[in-house]
């Protein structure tokens, strides 16, 4: 328990705050340098909380794109319920409010021995600690015929932005009565309820504008997260519109054919009017390049500091990390980023590291006026991260409860993106 008399918080006026921070004496003349690579939820959160943790750190965030579009809530965009602009966030507040140096470039190389990051432009940045948040990459060789070019016809829309826009355009252009085929990936993948929420919200769009259309989910798995909630919602809101075929029925997704817009499974061929192929996933390319992945394709990390087990001095957070029982979600990335930022700040300033908390909460839309939530706490222990308490929404909750969750979900998006990018 910390000593109450030592707390010196609540500086609300910009001037007094800056003065308070500036009055601290540096531990050494040179500031410790932390470089964060990747401006998604994990990277942006880590950069912000590092900058807030100690004024003796120089924090740099490297991200090639000028803005980030969130994958979470992008299913609402697909259903015509939100604009893409409302899901897009810039980095200017992080630079202005917290003094984070934003470098809009791609990373070409990581040299763990020299502790440098090489940029595409040829410039090199030195670091004392490196935090990598590379997100996911797709295993394009896993489904025959599905590569980056094929994704321009059969979008994955699992990294938000142009891909999401493309899928929305195809759904809008689709004639009433068409079949929308969604392939759901094997575990582990980004956002476990995501594919099934997508089916719900596209069904809501069809119900209003293209009521004779159908949705077919070809799953690489035999079960999925919160399956009872989804199947209950499909029956209640969209009877006879959504069909889910598990791997045991189809034998799995084998190939795609761009010309005929068809998906081949072991059991047969499914022709789509619009197809959304969400491929199997691994850690983002930078993780592969930096020697941070193991045979699983993901990055093993220390459960307390998120320091790579393969490259000392480099921390990996977010979807790319092997974080025990934590799901790959934006909320988990944000939670891990804070824990990692505090650990790195403690390491570099010599202050005491304290036990922290890891959480995941998730709001999921089953229909425009029907949302559910779940909450899970996690504890590091035994070299991994284990689930603590878990509470999930249940089938049969009142209409009122579900409507309140819709309101909470929208409020959460605002608060969460403010926490990450604001």
């Amino acid at each position: 328990m910390t000593d109450c008399t030592r707390r010196t918080f609540g500086c609300l006026l910009g001037a007094s705050c800056v003065a308070a921070l500036g009055s601290r004496t540096a531990r050494s003349q040179a500031k410790a340098r932390v470089v964060v690579v990747g401006g998604g939820v994990g990277g942006a959160t880590a950069a912000k909380y590092l900058a807030l943790s100690a004024n003796t750190l120089e924090v740099t965030l490297i991200e090639p794109k000028p803005q980030y579009t969130t994958c979470f809530f992008s299913n609402l965009y697909l259903a015509g319920m939100r604009s893409l602009a409302s899901l897009t966030h810039g980095y200017e507040p992080l630079a202005r409010r917290y003094g984070i140096r934003i470098v809009q470039e791609s990373v070409a190389t990581i040299d763990p021995a020299a502790k440098t990051v090489g940029l595409e432009s040829g410039a090199k940045l030195d670091y004392d600690r490196l935090i990598v948040a590379p997100g996911i990459a797709f295993k394009f060789d896993a489904i025959e015929g599905y590569d980056e070019a094929a994704a321009q016809i059969l979008p994955h829309a699992w990294v938000a932005g142009p891909q999401t826009q493309l899928l929305r355009e195809q759904l809008e252009a689709m004639e009433d009565g068409g079949v929308f085929v969604l392939t759901a990936p094997p575990n582990p993948f980004r956002c476990p309820p995501g594919p099934y929420e997508r089916a719900c919200l596209i069904a809501a769009y069809f119900k209003q504008f293209k009521p004779r259309s159908k949705i077919l989910i070809l799953d690489a798995k035999d079960s999925f997260f919160e399956q009872d909630l989804f199947q209950d919602a499909w029956e209640r809101h969209f009877p006879d519109m959504i069909e889910w075929l598990p791997a045991q029925f189809t034998g799995g997704i084998k190939a795609v054919d761009v010309k005929t817009r068809s998906i081949r499974t072991e059991a047969g061929n499914f022709v789509a009017a619009v197809a959304n192929v969400i491929p199997p996933q691994v850690a983002g390319r930078l993780a592969q390049k930096g020697g941070l992945v193991d045979a699983s394709g993901w990055c093993p990390v220390d459960p307390l500091t998120f320091e790579s087990k393969q490259q000392p001095g480099i921390h990996v957070i977010g979807d790319a990390a092997l974080a025990g029982e934590m799901p790959k979600s934006a909320f988990a990335a944000n939670s891990q980023a804070k824990m990692c930022a505090f650990a790195v700040a403690a390491l570099l300033t010599g202050s005491e590291e304290q036990s922290s908390h890891l959480f995941n909460t998730c709001f999921t839309f089953l229909a425009p006026d029907d949302a559910v939530s779940d909450a899970i706490s996690f504890k590091p222990g035994g070299g991994t991260i284990k689930m603590g308490n878990i509470l999930l929404s249940q089938v049969g909750e009142s209409v009122q409860t579900r409507r309140e969750a819709v309101r909470a979900a929208n409020g959460w998006y605002d608060a969460f993106t403010h926490d990450v990018f604001g």
Partner: protein
């Protein structure tokens, strides 16, 4: 530096212990705006320490229903709860939100 963010101002240059309440408030900030401008999510700004502790204890004992808050409250020790409530009670609604 804008208001509504947990300023982790323990003097780390002296290798001091970071402020527990501020680090815990960072967890709250994943869902609640610390500038007090929440929409759709109940605000946690503008309450005194005792009120905040009482609310969290009620979530722990399931007298207030919110499964998210129940999971959060169950993970906090009595010391953590006091530390985060103390920190939050010192925050004020930002008159100039983003």
């Amino acid at each position: 530096m804008s208001a509504g963010v947990p300023v982790l101002s323990a003097d780390r240059s002296q290798a001091a212990q970071p402020d527990r309440g501020a680090e815990l408030a960072a967890v709250c900030a994943s869902c609640h705006r610390l500038d007090g401008h929440d929409q759709g999510i109940p605000s946690i700004i503008g309450f005194d320490e005792a009120t905040l502790v009482a609310k969290m204890v009620a979530f722990k004992s399931d007298e207030r229903s919110s499964q998210i808050m129940r999971v959060m409250s169950l993970s906090l020790s009595a010391e953590d709860l006091t530390a985060v409530a103390h920190y939050l009670a010192g925050q004020h609604k930002d008159t100039n939100p983003r």
